[in-house]
């Protein structure tokens, strides 16, 4: 089973992206402390995203005619790996570049592609995803936000919640009900794209347990949208979202969310010269895990590169990867605090506790662990 996940290698022309990008990241993030880097793909810096866009590192997999790089997902893998390894602040463009632009490319009209994709590739247009609602978390098919067809287009009413960077984005892509009721489950759902500043929309940031406000609740009160807000086919929202989530789940970010902390801890061990066997074996185990997770993630990316939509495989690497990301702050904390006579740099301490506190979100965002395991089980032929 899962024989389609095969060992894959990065082509040399894609590896060639690494060195110049690394130099750019180093210049742009030289003064960033570890605890800010450990925010990984939650760190928001619009200027940095524009810099990446102007240097051609965004939209690598998108066609050149829309401002993309016309390259394979393996090229994007290299770029993402470099950004995450350095803890570069990528949140501004992250969602738009990772899943919104591919969604628009796959299902949008020519006019939508020309409108939205080029500014996303320039790092100038940021998107947020309106999926969850107060009554719809893992049970996404129960969304109640409704779009009614009117003469000039659509009128949307409802509420979204846990919408990442809604207060800083330019566009929202929302999953809404366009026919039937929530009893009809995944039938009658559609995706709409619109300016987040359209009249009738209220965005209220939600502060999280680390003091950051990266997500928000979004109220939609008689929001009037033009007919061309619809992406793809009316009523096909569920199928489109499923394909989109494969992009959201399959990337190396599901392995590397805590890698800044891992590297900072290893530098600490080297600085204090610690080499007892318990710590050394722990370093070895985590290194082995990250190696195999990377190879699975790469295998999954190779499937995307081959034109497939690896929904089940993406669920598999996300669950495995986030388990690893969540274990890191626990075992690293145990190691550091297991040596109470050894001084710990305050920056490392802040990074440790930031990652410890935020880690539960790793297996919530983009689909909970339980939902993903259900998808894998179906892929195994159960049910």
């Amino acid at each position: 089973m899962f024989e389609n996940l095969k060992l894959a290698a990065l082509p040399e022309e894609d590896e060639a992206l690494r060195a110049p990008l690394r130099a750019l990241i180093q210049r742009a993030t030289a003064d960033m402390p570890i605890d800010r880097r450990s925010r990984s793909w939650q760190g928001f810096d619009a200027e940095f995203s524009r810099l990446l866009g102007s240097e051609g590192y965004l939209g690598l997999t998108l066609p050149k005619r829309y401002g993309g790089g016309g390259r394979s997902p393996l090229a994007r893998f290299v770029v993402v790996e470099e950004l995450l390894s350095a803890g570069a602040p990528v949140a501004a463009h992250w969602i738009a570049e990772r899943q919104s632009a591919p969604l628009i490319l796959n299902f949008g009209t020519e006019a939508q592609r020309e409108t939205y994709i080029p500014p996303i590739c320039r790092g100038e247009a940021f998107c947020c995803i309106g999926m969850s609602e107060p009554g719809s978390g893992s049970d996404l098919a129960s969304v109640r936000t409704r779009a009614e067809r009117v003469d000039k287009g659509w009128v949307v009413n409802g509420q979204k919640i846990w919408t990442t960077h809604a207060m800083r984005g330019h566009y929202m892509i929302a999953l809404v009900r366009t026919s039937g009721t929530s009893e009809d489950r995944n039938k009658g759902l559609s995706q709409l794209i619109f300016d987040i500043h359209t009249p009738g929309i209220t965005v209220r940031p939600i502060v999280d347990l680390t003091g950051d406000a990266h997500f928000a609740e979004v109220f939609l009160d008689n929001v009037e949208l033009p007919a061309d807000a619809l992406i793809g086919e009316e009523g096909k929202g569920w199928q489109q979202v499923t394909a989109e989530l494969a992009f959201e789940r399959s990337g190396p970010e599901r392995v590397y969310s805590s890698v800044v902390l891992l590297d900072a801890w290893i530098r600490h061990l080297q600085a204090v010269g610690r080499s007892d066997s318990a710590t050394t074996a722990l370093v070895g185990r985590l290194t082995a895990q990250i190696a195999v997770l990377r190879s699975i993630s790469l295998a999954c990316t190779a499937l995307v590169a081959a034109g497939e939509s690896p929904v089940v495989e993406a669920a598999l690497i996300k669950d495995l990867g986030t388990s690893f990301e969540q274990e890191l702050p626990v075992v690293i904390g145990d190691d550091l605090a297991g040596h109470p006579d050894e001084p710990v740099d305050p920056e490392l301490y802040r990074a440790l506790l930031y990652t410890t506190y935020i880690a539960p979100s790793f297996s919530l965002r983009g689909g909970t662990r339980e939902i993903l395991r259900g998808i894998i089980a179906r892929g195994l032929g159960l049910r």
Partner: protein, 329 residues
Amino acid sequence: MDFNELLDPFERLLEDVAGPERIRQIESDAALGELWTALEESGFLDALVPEAAGGAGLTLGDVYPLFVALGRHAVPAPVAETMLARLLLAKEGVDYPRGPIVLAVAHGDATPPVPHGRVAEHVLVEAGGESLVLVPTEALTRIETGVHGCLSGSFSWEAPLSGLLCSVPEHGLRTLAALVRTCLIAGAAGRLLDMTVGYANERVQFGRRIGQQQAVQQQLAVMAQQVVAARLASEAACVAGLPVNSPLIVATSKQVCGTVAAEVANIAHAVHGAIGISEEYDLQLFTRRLHEWRLADGSSSWWALRLGEARLASSQSSVDFVRAALVPV
């Protein structure tokens, strides 16, 4: 070479000569009989031997699917070990004998339990000298483990070892032996996943198939993840090839596969319930082996220590270290 051209006849051969009843019989009387004769005649044992020496000259990456198939069929003989031993001997022009060979690293004048030791005719021993020695088992004292059904055996000797010689491979014989274990683990773990999913789709409790229970589904999903991890880790180690350039790829694979072996065996038994514990049900043929292979040639933690030492000695980032040392070139 096309993988299927190589793998399909090999799988058919294993199905013919290494079915579950045959495995049980060999576990009982330690006589390989026609299983070995058929393997010998098939030519597969010379797959890695250079063409100049009469073999097929395949690479380790080429034979990786065969190694995995050995695990998938719980083959009760040192097939992969013999293939590697023949390569080490043949590439130095040594005329190797027929018969099953196991790989062992000695401590003093004895070895730890060696998988398939009970059915071996020769032991290729690394005993601290410059050369490996291929010793006929009749020249050694063979000690059974006393564990039910166990084909492992250890060896001891009093007189200095003598036999055919070849060089110690780069990074030692244990690295090669550990590599074999990881492929076998990947194969057996995959087989257990198939068996366990099949069982969950048939067994009815509380009026429905247990595979419809979320709690069981979640366990099987974890099992599938572990199987994929073992497969890609062991494949990377094989594709890296011989001589082993980086023992750290093998260390990674054994660390990962050792952990996978324990977890997969546990889930397979948990889902099967009591039937899986019984002798007559085939599950135990695979789960017992997973544990034997996990414990042989250095456990997860031994290899983690080797890998950790190298990692701590490097000033690279984790991503760079993985790319430089743990990815086949």
